[in-house]
Amino acid sequence: MFFKFVIRRVLFSIPTIVGIVTLAFLLGKLIPGDPAVAALGLDLDGASTVSQEELERVRTELGLDRPVIVQYMSWFGDALQGDLGRSSVNRESVTALILRAFPNTMFLLLTTISTAALIGISLGVFSALHRGKSADLVARLVTIVGVSTPPFWLALVLILVFAFNLNLFPMNGSVAEHGWTALVLPTASIALQPAALIARMSRSSMLEVLSQDMIRTAAAKGLGRWTIILRHGLPNALSPVITVIGFQFANLMGGAVAIEVLFGMPGLGSLLINAIFENDLKVIQGVVVIVGITFALTNLAVDLLYSVIDPRIKL
Amino acid sequence: MNVVLQEPPLLEVIDLKTHFPIREGLLGNTTGHVHAVNGVSFTLGKNETLGLVGESGSGKSTLGKSILRLVEPTSGDVRLQGESIVRLSKKQMFRHRRQAQMVFQDPYSSLNPRIPVGRIVAEAMSVHGLAPAAEIRERVEELFGRVGLRPAQTLCYANEFSGGQRQRIGIARALALNPSLIIADEPVSALDVSVQAQVINLMMDLQQEFGLSYLFIAHDLAVVAQISRRIAVMYLGRLMELADRNELFRNAQHPYTEALLAAIPIANPSKTRAPGKVLQGDIPSPRKLPSGCVFHARCPIAVERCKVEVPEFREIGSGHSVACHLRG
């Protein structure tokens, strides 16, 4: 039964994924500049000798001379087979590029979201339990300050203080080189926002649940305070929190792009930014597709998670 | 009835069915139907009140809404003063809107909280162009006075009123169009006893004054009895019994009606309920209707036949109809 539900929910996300792939194609079509020029690897100070025929040759090679619909069909077909083309800049397979960058980004996002969830839920529950008291106010102020701090700016400050002055963490580089310490500052830079939002949602959700009859019933049974909070309150408060976590997971990407660039982490964000500056059409498309599908699947996972924790969700 | 009517009855409901599709699966294909109203027929004359009772989920509201085409009936016919309205276009329907209005159960959700209540009532008139703009205000204040509110209160917002007052406003809105029929869907269920009496009285007064007809829906038999001359008992989308009030109370035929009557708590400590009459079990889901007589599963007198054959809703005496194989 659960399996059937999974299948159904997966089928439901097919149109979304088709939509994402199409959107990526359309985006790619509108990129200005000549991808063929970029494909020839001209770089910053490079002024060079490129002949017209040279460009034509590259255009043909890139398939830029075919009708749009044909380009779309072949793009779609290839994408289905996991072939997102080759970078027009260095001819590396986009799929390979993405596969290399993807784990870095996901590692960062997962670390961040779990940290944020842990902090956020604890803070939110704490806040809810002290509703209206000064502890609540302080917790809320902390969360507000958290949401309001621009991640890339925070990152600069963190780099200056913790990496440069205190020399506690590496300033730059991936997990592959420095191990987990490479994640500390990037995570800290972007975890604040989701943590704050999760805290806020946990608080209000918890407050709402705590005001429900169900909690009063549990209390009337003579259960202890923490039993009520942890066994009756929290699980029921969790659904909207999970939604927020799901959303925030996707939103984290927002901070992650700048953070990856700042910390020199070779993730999807860096990949995208490079691609944009180099007019690397195929890579831009690839990143949009992968990121889109990842988060479409995240939504799916969130839905499945619901059905696991909430028996009311129809299987 | 064997009398040839000169004038058709105000409201005729003929074998009305309203089914809601249950959508499931990837393409939202219909996997079944909620048989909310499943073949209901009755007539309602001018200046008459028909009470409609039944357990929660029996389809009372859906019936009321289907009559007004707030939900589209699946089949059957509704005639207002002899004219069938179920197949009218939106435009054509508009003309008939004036004749039949509705009063809702929940006094909190039935008034737009953002619009002064006077305007809520005025809008009803202006949509139908019932009065020139200049006069509308006057008419609204008049109506407010009639339902027991002060004219100055037309400027207030819904949240400034108590439940009973809101119901009065809802009634005023319905009255604004000068309807001949008002479908009142549990208008007093949400009110306290003391206020409930006020609203019931008001409705009775207005009926006399304007010659209204009511289809009065309630789940409280006592309230229905208070205001209605005839009472229909509904169960799982069907009428089980329909009779004059006193006939129904004294001479209930359907076992379900009997059970309902027996379940009413009696506000008299010296009288005790006849033991053993308490109905067992719950109302089944209208998604999966029982075969045969929909009541057979809970019926104390059910026989084999009840499980297979749907009893006909037939007249067993003057104005007394019942749907039971074994009674009448």
Partner: protein, 498 residues
């Protein structure tokens, strides 16, 4: 001063040299547009150049001999690729043909195809090149852009050569490479120059953030950075970082579209030239690390000749206004609005801002549009622009600074100077050709002087200044010389004192 070491023995061996790079995306020798030091780490050419940019033998035993029809190179016979295969004439032929055939996507393909008729293997260690016609820059082209990868490896890796592996003969060998992120090279123990290199390996990473780059260097996470905004210069002071510059490495100009109706007017170009103050840019954007225009050649170049008349390329606001008024613009006339395309960020932006203000002084409204650099190039090549802020990195050849810029059909002539539809000066064309044909500056000193005067007057480019190339390194880096041209540092003899 060049490295004063008798033989190729390093004072100290070992250590990984950590540095930054900003742009490499492929390590295949035929895919790369500019001669930068990475290529010289992995690969060698037949010819090489020394610190003063003199062409010297590399994998060839000597400079080529010419029989009037072909150039013949005698190759070293003791060189092996990193994969152990032999470097020989066949390998040379293979690489050249690969480049010309366009199997790899290279901006050089067209150029080499045009210049070269064929390559012939004479014997295992002798190879001959047949040029298609005159080829004045041949030595420099060989030294800078023709490098050799192992044919075996190339055949094996296909398009992934340069990504998953890169096999040359150079002082360092490919270890790992993530484009736009990290390149790790290790010492080639069998380098043909015995005893070199000194370093165990090289790590070059991409660090986008300017501050992180600088802080990492100060902190010692990096040994050298060879590209950083000049404004960071003061930041390094007192931090134990050695900052060095290579004078006049890049020519900074405004490319002018002489097909544009307003810009076709000589007076307007002159007015603009008189409005700009290259010195101000040097002082404010380059933190003083630049040189004013006194010649069309960089100060280190053998052809460098100070122009007789410098006033045409000096700021003179009054004269500029007068010229503009003469052309019908300025007070009482029309308002001149021009669009300037520039790359975005850092110095690009700052220069644009200053230029905007300088031109505003004479009443020209300069609209600045920052775009991605690839867009700048696209627009430059398609002529779809009015003014473009452009930096030109030349080479040691005379032609780079003369014909390439001012000759019709010169590869870097994006201004339509001397071209159909643009502003033309037959005399300049003639001079540029004459200079191109010669390889000895002293021979054509007179033509150089005349060409300088002509272009300073014709203003096919708005001359801004020369920008110096900079390196910053920690004190442990020894024997590193800042190259004349950006990115040409030779790391073979560099050693780390830690």
């Amino acid at each position: 001063a060049s490295v004063a070491r008798a033989d190729d023995v390093c004072p100290k061996y070992g250590g990984t040299f950590k540095t930054v790079d900003i742009s490499y995306s492929n390590l295949d020798p035929s895919q790369v547009a500019n001669p930068q030091y990475y290529m010289r780490l992995l690969y060698d050419g037949l010819l090489d150049f020394d610190h003063d940019l003199n062409v010297v033998p590399g994998l060839a035993l000597d400079l080529p001999t010419s029989d009037g029809e072909r150039y013949v190179f005698k190759l070293r016979d003791d060189v092996k690729f990193h994969d152990g295969t032999d470097f020989n004439a066949e390998a040379v032929k293979f690489n050249v043909e690969r480049l010309i055939a366009g199997e790899v996507r290279s901006p050089l393909t067209g150029y080499w195809k045009k210049q070269l008729k064929s390559v012939e293997v004479i014997d295992e260690y002798t190879v001959a090149f047949v040029p298609a016609g005159e080829w004045p820059t041949m030595l420099w082209d060989f030294a800078s852009s023709l490098r050799f990868a192992s044919p075996t490896a190339v055949n094996e890796l296909g398009v992934d050569h340069g990504l998953k592996g890169a096999v040359g003969t150079g002082p360092f060998m490919f270890k790992s490479f993530e484009p736009k992120n990290l390149m790790i090279l290790e010492r080639n123990p069998n380098y043909y120059k015995a005893g070199l290199p000194c370093l165990d390996g090289i790590q070059a990473r991409v660090i986008k953030s300017g501050s992180v780059r600088a802080l990492s260097l100060i902190k010692g996470d990096l040994d050298m950075i060879n590209t950083f905004p000049e404004t960071q210069f003061p930041q390094f002071q007192g931090s134990g970082v050695i900052v060095d510059e290579g004078k006049s490495s890049t020519l900074t100009v405004l490319a002018v579209n002489t097909k544009n109706s307003a810009l076709a007017d000589l007076r307007i170009r002159q007015a603009i030239q008189h409005a700009v103050d290259g010195k101000e840019l040097i002082d404010n954007v380059y933190a003083g690390m630049g040189e004013e225009i006194v010649s069309i050649f960089p100060s280190w170049h053998p052809a460098f000749t100070v122009a007789e008349e410098l006033s045409p390329v000096r700021q003179d606001v009054e004269k500029a206004k007068a010229l503009l008024a003469d052309a019908g613009y300025g007070p009482g006339g029309k308002k001149l609005t021009l669009q300037l395309l520039t790359g975005s960020g850092g110095a690009h932006t700052q220069r644009a801002i200053l230029l905007q203000a300088q031109l505003a002084n004479i009443g020209i409204d300069l609209k600045v549009k920052s775009v991605a650099y690839s867009q700048v190039l696209t627009d430059l090549q398609s002529g779809n622009y009015e003014l473009i802020l452009w930096q030109m990195l030349g080479g040691p050849a005379i032609i780079d600074y003369a014909w390439n810029l001012y000759g019709s059909g010169g590869p870097n002539n994006f201004t339509f100077y001397n071209e159909e539809g643009g502003y033309q000066n037959p005399r300049a064309e003639e001079l540029a050709l004459e200079i191109a044909k010669s390889n000895d500056p002293n021979e054509v000193r007179a033509q150089i002087t005349e060409l300088q005067d002509t272009v300073f007057n014709d203003v096919p480019l708005i001359f801004l200044n020369w920008r110096n190339h900079r390196t910053a390194r920690t004190t442990s880096v020894k024997d590193l010389e800042t190259a004349k041209l950006k990115g040409m540092e030779d790391l073979r003899e560099v050693w780390l004192d830690r």
